[in-house]
């Protein structure tokens, strides 16, 4: 595996009480109709990029997102709506974890390789990120709504000066509960 440096991070587990207000400031407007999980993801990703001194990702960077239960709240809402007929279109879209990838792409005005994955072991994700990343590294996110919420992001780059300690950052990035189900 390539040696990676943490050039930016956001470890918000849980996020501060005013995270929604902060997100509105970061985006310049209140996000609309994207759902709580996606808002939480945008919040952490924007802070992580700012910490890395970046406004967007380079074209050769990749975006990887993981979660334990991702869109469970939106999925529950969509299933409840079906008791009366069809789900609302936007609620249905919010059930797809990949919608957050699209939102981040649009927010960063960036087109590139982005993927949602879940694994039992965070190291497996790192291994895959390492195998798929280009020279501009990866933005790695772990977002969940449960237990007060968490939005943890790392900006990892090969051959770059380290801003944060890698081992400590990676350990904090994916909370221990995420590895509860060993295969």
């Amino acid at each position: 595996m390539k040696a990676l440096s943490v050039t930016g991070r956001c470890l918000a587990s849980p996020p501060p009480a005013d995270w929604r207000e902060q997100l509105t400031q970061l985006l310049g407007a209140k996000p609309r109709r994207i759902g709580n999980w996606a808002e939480l993801g945008l919040y952490g990703a924007m802070l992580c990029l700012a910490d890395a001194g970046e406004k967007t990702l380079p074209l050769d960077a990749t975006l990887m997102l993981t979660s334990r239960r991702g869109t469970y709240a939106a999925t529950g809402a969509a299933l409840a709506q079906m008791g009366d007929g069809l789900p609302m279109p936007l609620t249905f879209l919010q059930t797809q974890p990949s919608q957050l990838l699209a939102l981040l792409s649009a927010q960063m005005d960036w087109m590139g390789h982005a993927c949602f994955l879940a694994t039992a072991q965070p190291q497996d994700l790192l291994r895959l990120a390492n195998a798929q990343m280009g020279q501009d590294g990866v933005l790695l996110g772990c977002v969940d709504e449960m237990d007060g919420g968490s939005s943890n992001w790392l900006r990892l780059r090969p051959d770059a000066p380290e801003k944060h300690d890698f081992s400590a950052s990676f350990l904090a990035w994916m909370p221990p509960a995420s590895v509860a189900h060993g295969v």
């Binding site: 595996m1 975006l63 979660s67 334990r68 239960r69 991702g70 869109t71 469970y72 999925t75 529950g76 969509a78 299933l79 079906m82 008791g83 009366d84 007929g85 069809l86 789900p87 609302m88 279109p89 249905f92 879209l93 059930t95 797809q96 974890p97 990949s98 919608q99 990838l101 699209a102 939102l103 981040l104 792409s105 649009a106 927010q107 087109m111 590139g112 390789h113 982005a114 993927c115 949602f116 994955l117 879940a118 694994t119 039992a120 072991q121 497996d124 291994r127 895959l128 390492n130 195998a131 798929q132 995420s178 509860a180 189900h181 295969v183």
Partner: protein, 353 residues
């Protein structure tokens, strides 16, 4: 770097419950259309490409089909490698029956236990491009020597939420899927489970060279021309190829009025001479997260056995592209593309070894 071989495939879809029976049904032009009634309604129904039924609830049905396609792909030879579960709907059908909750690792554990898997398991979801992205992830992991074997398992089974969601978005055709058709009026959904087994230690007739995935979030529910062009350019560059090296492209062409036109323009902008095109959506429906793996499995069988899909509908001449009415004389390399929700645009490149 070691070549990545596609060494086994398995398929259960509306055409049949194996690659062979699916191919036979395709060659005989069998129409496997079923219908599904919309959630909450008693009369409104849409065509749906359903698999032959087996008894049991959603979980039991999933286990049965997963074991079948895994056996066909000889997945037991890869159990120490990486397993990539590719899906857009996860086990939502079980949730509808009160037999599951949204928990990706619990879903992964269920499938892993069913296959007696020993290696790492990844659940990958990028909507309709899921299994092509799983193929690219498997390819990258194999090329990096992290594993010697990998199994991509596309899983998309019938459920009410997906049908209801697509209906709510007004994306479904009330009739037939008409890829690049003049009278195209929407998608026909379907279900499938497909397995593709890759290896760097076992050789076969087909190699995966690579691919590209481009997310363009400016249009989160549809494709974009710049992203289609970027996808083809990146895939060719990643594989060290030029456009004239491609002999065939399996397109998305799901029959969407808007997306088919965007895809056609993207093809024209990417290729000076657009290679022969093929679509399998009419035969098996749009099987979303499983579609990439299912269509690659079926296409390779078509190429090896000289079977070709037929299209009943008139192509839209304004699109400037057409579907090949017979198999190209010789196909050394093909691309397989899927465009989907979440601004996803993905393509993979396979080559005869």
């Amino acid at each position: 770097m070691k070549p990545v071989y596609l060494v086994g495939s398995g398929l259960a879809c509306a055409l049949g419950l194996t690659v062979k029976t699916s191919l036979t049904a395709l060659s005989q032009g069998r129409d496997a259309a079923a219908t599904r009634v919309l959630p909450g309604e008693s009369t409104t129904c849409f065509p749906y490409r359903a698999m032959a039924d087996v008894s049991g609830d959603w979980n039991e049905r999933a286990r049965t089909f997963i074991r079948r396609v895994a056996l066909e792909a000889r997945a037991e030879k890869a159990r120490d490698g990486a397993l990539f579960l590719a899906t857009s709907s996860f086990d939502i059908g079980a949730m509808e029956q009160g037999a599951a909750v949204v928990d990706y690792q619990a879903f992964a554990d269920q499938v892993a236990n069913c296959l007696q898997w020993r290696g790492p398991v990844y659940v990958l979801s990028t909507a309709c491009t899921s299994s092509l992205n799983a193929m690219m992830a498997a390819h990258a992991l194999l090329r990096s020597d992290e594993v010697e074997d990998a199994l991509v398992l596309g899983v998309e089974l019938s459920n009410q939420l997906t049908l209801g969601g697509f209906a709510a978005l007004q994306l479904l055709s009330p009739g037939r899927c008409k890829p690049f058709g003049r009278d195209r009026d929407g998608l026909v959904l379907g279900e499938s489970i497909a397995a593709l087994r890759f290896s760097t230690r076992e050789a076969s007739f087909w190699c995966m060279l690579g691919g590209a995935n481009v997310v363009d979030g400016r249009q989160p529910t549809s494709a974009s021309v710049p992203a289609v062009v970027s996808m083809y350019q990146k895939a060719l560059a990643n594989c060290g190829l030029t456009a004239d090296a491609i002999d065939l492209i399996k397109v998305q062409a799901a029959g969407s009025p808007g997306n088919d036109a965007i895809e056609a323009q993207g093809l024209r902008d990417s290729f000076e001479v657009v290679p022969p095109l093929v679509s399998l959506k009419t035969a098996i429906g749009h099987t979303m997260g499983a579609s990439g793996a299912a269509e690659v499995a079926l296409l390779i069988a078509c190429l090896e056995q000289g079977v070709w899909p037929t299209y009943a509908d008139v192509v839209d001449a304004t699109l400037g592209v057409h579907l090949a009415t017979q198999a190209p004389a010789s196909v050394r390399r093909f691309m397989a593309s899927i465009l989907g929700f979440g601004g996803g645009h993905a393509t993979v490149v396979l080559e005869r070894a």
